[in-house]
């Protein structure tokens, strides 16, 4: 039953042009990340360990992802849910044994798979760009993988939040507006006190960042991995709880 429902969601995605939308996100993050290549001295220091080429690319990706992802995640969730509002899909699904909450969870599974894959591709493409420009110094695999995994978690939590918002509030302006405000919070997250960054899901982009500029010097910092795990746990529990409530509500 669930497999069939997920399959249906993928079919809807084809008509909603989710592919191009996700491509915009990947291209956007890649484009903003690659601006680092144009900074003075980058291309000249690709084989110099002191040049920190990989670290600079990773820091640039950690700057780009919070700028581009929150709005596109809001758009993705809105597209996937708005058609149910417009076409009375909630009622049709409910009568065929898929109440609103379960439909929401199905949407999360399908859209989350696409978003998770897109995030991994984003990260892989940045590695590809780094390799193409000839970075030969050792690759910080642990740092890179941990950041990519954290980014997947934060993106999925935001997707769950926006799916709930788009389901609950028919006016899609609200969800998208919150996505835009999220960009402000994500972008200013690195300047926030850590306790303040913990208060909203967008702040976790900054908490996941393993590098920070201290003046002109790029220094490693300890990311808040436990907090990211806690966000995943709390996000999952809240999503399940709220969607269970949706299941019991009348359409």
């Amino acid at each position: 039953m669930i497999a069939q429902a997920v399959h249906n969601e993928f079919a809807k995605m084809r008509h909603l042009r989710v592919g191009p939308l996700v491509a915009v996100m990947v291209a956007g993050v890649l484009a903003v990340t690659c601006r680092e290549l144009t900074t003075p001295g980058f291309l000249e220091s690709v084989d110099d360990p002191a040049g920190q080429s990989w670290q600079r690319l990773l820091a640039s990706m950690a700057f780009a992802a919070p700028l581009v992802s929150p709005i596109l995640i809001a758009v993705l969730a809105s597209r996937q849910v708005d058609l149910e509002h417009q076409g009375n899909g909630w009622l049709f699904s409910h009568t065929s044994g898929l109440p609103a909450g379960r439909l929401c969870r199905t949407k999360f599974l399908a859209t989350g798979a696409v978003l998770g894959a897109a995030t991994l591709i984003e990260s892989a493409l940045v590695i590809g760009v780094g390799t193409l420009v000839g970075i030969t110094v050792s690759f910080p695999a642990g740092q890179w993988l941990a950041y990519t995994a954290s980014m997947v978690v934060v993106n999925l939590v935001l997707l769950a939040l926006h799916l709930l918002l788009a389901t609950r509030i028919e006016n899609q302006l609200i969800g998208l507006g919150i996505g835009v405000l999220g960009v402000f919070l994500a972008a200013s997250g690195s300047g926030m006190q850590p306790w303040l960054a913990h208060l909203t899901p967008w702040g976790y982009y900054a908490l996941a960042t393993p590098l920070d500029y201290r003046g002109e010097v790029l220094a490693s910092i300890t990311p808040w991995h436990l907090s990211i795990v806690a966000l995943a746990v709390v996000g999952t529990a809240a999503f399940l709880l709220i969607t269970r409530r949706f299941d019991r509500q009348e359409v």
Binding site: R17, L21, A31, R35, L72, R79, Q172, L173, V180, L181
Partner: protein, 249 residues
Amino acid sequence: MGSVQAEFLKLKRSMSWAVVIVLPLMAVITGTTNTVVSGQQLDDGWKTLWLRVIVFYGLFPLAVGVAALASLIWRVEHRDGNWNALMGRRVSSLEIVLGKAAVLAALMAAMQLVLLAGTVLAGKLIFGLPGFIPSEYLLVSVIIVLACLPVATLQSALSMLMRSFAAPIAIALLGAVVSVGLLLAEINGLIAVVPYALLGRATQLGTGYFADSGSITTGTMLLLIVASAGLTALTVVATAAGLDRRDIR
């Protein structure tokens, strides 16, 4: 005139105020909070505060906010039987498109006013800056509103063509990313003809960031005004022609 009034009436319960008020205030709040939390001083007074508020706001959120408002004013036309009612109206397509553009222009002006008022309040109440915000930033604000118009009319066209509320907003974000690239590369020829880049350029006026020299020159202002007017006229005419060719559903 009737079209403009009708558009304002449709806007009454649309929650457009949320974007008009919250988005610019968020720019002021984050700019102010970042300054306070980091413990940095406003070395150059009003100028430093202005660029802390406007630089980021002008690169991404403003274009997306304009897109959200354009989607909002067309959303009502795509619902129920309103599209057919629109097709059956006695007014011309150009009047309909101009009515939407006028509403968007008013919303853009209101957004910029909120941003200015918020910046002035933050400067006086939080940082105790002397005097009033320099008049050059009032002039820059007028130019920003003018530069919003090509983006607003282009987004209006996209929202007319697409039933989805969110898809045109994704396009605006892509436009904003492209505009950052053009500004970084300082490709002035393209900046003048790509609406998102033109808006990005206008918001950076006098900041010294993203293709800006830091000084506000008459030549740059004239270029921005002429390019904004030209692009707006072009998109309005093209949208009206596009609407003329649309059919009932």
